[in-house]
């Protein structure tokens, strides 16, 4: 059966850590999708009779400071984290790749301006820039996603630019130019497919980083707003009950860790298979 699969897929399946990553990521995605079916309780339903209750048959992972079920909130929280990570990177790709392609293909003053702008954005630590943008736009999940997307865009600008610079000199690009193709057509039809795998690898690793930043912002109270459950904000509250109810902070942290580890393993596997120059 293995033999019928395309070579990159076979290569991927032969790496145990990459497969582990895929399994972890799929598990989290399924948990997020089927949260309403899997959750034993409503994620925002308070039960004042069971405040900070230890794990039990009724509440397998215990309850939080309002008596809400930790497992249910964890499952629904997966939606916020995964959505934030993927949309933030999507924003970064949508801004970064076209800008980088044009910048690297045209060179000249366009390239110069773009590069100085990415230098300026990259001179700020991610969290600090996201903090500044949240202060401007107000704290919400959308703000956090846009902020992370803008901050990561330069990574994709650089990536697309480097590839475009290399590919503009290659024969097939020259041929396309000689045939009188429009610049936009060359960029979309000839350059874009050639950088797709590099972008995919970088995007998968960036999703992991974006989830970490989103959870840090939510942890600081600047991301997802209550009562919507998110892993970062659960941890924020749990910090206050570290001794009495360690489960309120342990499980959301573990969920972030496992998700990010899974995505990183998956991204590493993809890179090994798609981009053999790197290890």
């Amino acid at each position: 059966m293995m033999r019928r699969l395309p070579k990159p897929v076979r290569g991927f399946l032969r790496r145990p850590l990459a497969v582990l990553g895929l399994v972890l990521v799929l598990g989290m995605v399924l948990a997020a999708l089927f949260a309403p079916l899997l959750a034993p309780h409503a994620p925002t339903k308070a039960d004042f009779g069971a405040i900070l209750a230890a794990p039990s048959a009724k509440h397998p992972l215990g309850t939080d400071e309002l008596g809400r079920d930790v497992l249910s909130r964890l499952l629904f929280g997966a939606r916020a984290s995964l959505q934030a990570g993927m949309l933030a990177v999507l924003i970064a790709v949508v801004i970064g790749v076209p800008v980088g392609l044009v910048s690297g293909y045209r060179r000249g003053w366009v390239d110069e301006v773009v590069m100085r702008l990415t230098d300026a954005v990259m001179a700020f630590p991610v969290i600090v820039l996201a903090l500044a943008m949240t202060a401007v736009l107000g704290a919400s999940l959308t703000t956090a996603m846009v902020a992370i997307g803008v901050v990561y865009a330069p990574v994709f600008v650089r990536l697309a630019r480097a590839q475009a610079m290399a590919l503009r000199e290659v024969e097939f690009t020259e041929a396309a130019r000689a045939l009188g193709n429009h610049e936009a057509a060359i960029l979309v039809r000839h350059l874009l497919p050639n950088i797709a795998s590099a972008v995919l690898v970088q995007a998968s690793l960036s999703v992991a980083a974006a989830i970490l930043v989103e959870s840090a912002l939510s942890f600081l109270g600047l991301g997802v707003q209550p009562p919507t459950p998110s892993w970062g904000s659960m941890l924020r509250i749990g910090t206050g009950y570290l001794l009495e109810a360690p489960w309120t902070s342990f499980w959301p942290g573990l969920a972030i860790f496992v998700t990010v580890l899974g995505i990183n393993l998956l991204g590493d596997g993809l890179r090994d298979v798609l981009d053999p120059r790197d290890r």
Binding site: R116, A123, F124, P125, L131, A135, S215, L242
Partner: protein, 314 residues
Amino acid sequence: MAIYLLRRLLTAVPIILLITAVVFAVMQILPGDPAVMLLGTEATEASLAATRERLGLNRPLHVQYLSWLGDVLRGDLGRSMIDNRPVTTAIANAFPVTLQIALISLVMALLVGVPAGIVSAVRRGGVADAVASLVALSGISLPGFWAALLLVYVFALQFDWLPSSGFVRPSEDLWGSFLSSLLPAVALGLRPAGVFMRLLRSSMLDVIRSDYVRTARAKGVGANLVVMRHALRNALVPLVTVLGVEFSALLGNVVVIDTIFAIPGFGRLIYNSFLRLDFVMMQSLLLLFALIVIAVNFLTDLSYSLLDPRIRYR
């Protein structure tokens, strides 16, 4: 070299100017009125107008920008709008704290990451390699604030070996200061340790497979000596590059770690200034962050020529 230095410094000027413009623009689009922040919402329109006049907020934007730029160049960053402290004093108090924790953290990360990367590369494909690789990726994947909480739970709350929060200044108690920076430094260092390990592994693998290492081996140079003399030396340039990047990332991560450990460092300063919309403090700190990152990049570039004689600057 001297000419390269000069040119490099000159190219930094437009970037720094661009950054000051970005910082100034961010301050302009921030919601809230600094005059109201200072006087409170009860203030009369007349006193608000007087304060705006005094702060120069009525002047055209480009005049405000240039006057701020002039003040910054003269080393006058203004006073905090919350407690009226000079911003330079607040920075002078917070910066050594963060620098101390950052340095301890990076040194620990190097001490763990570099040997682990070497072992991993030398025993490529073995059990040690697989374990080290998974541990390194875990370090990168761990949310720092969660790691911090786990550390506090184990080392402070369960065993009472280390303080759970607060910071002791080295001038008060040197050993106590080290102990108080240990948990935050470990929490911050997990990520760079993983990054260093992965980097060292891959760059050593490149060298180990290269022709000149094969030649050295064939000449009968002992395997350990080959690794140390050739492979490690070639891994230094990428390592220094990543060290600079990780230092910048660490400056961002202290925002979270300072909050957890109640450390009076850079992170808390910037977090509080954003939370209370202390405009003057915010713009100074944003600028300072960017300048530090640029300075670190500059030093990184300079160190290349020291580490690798093939890299010469013209």
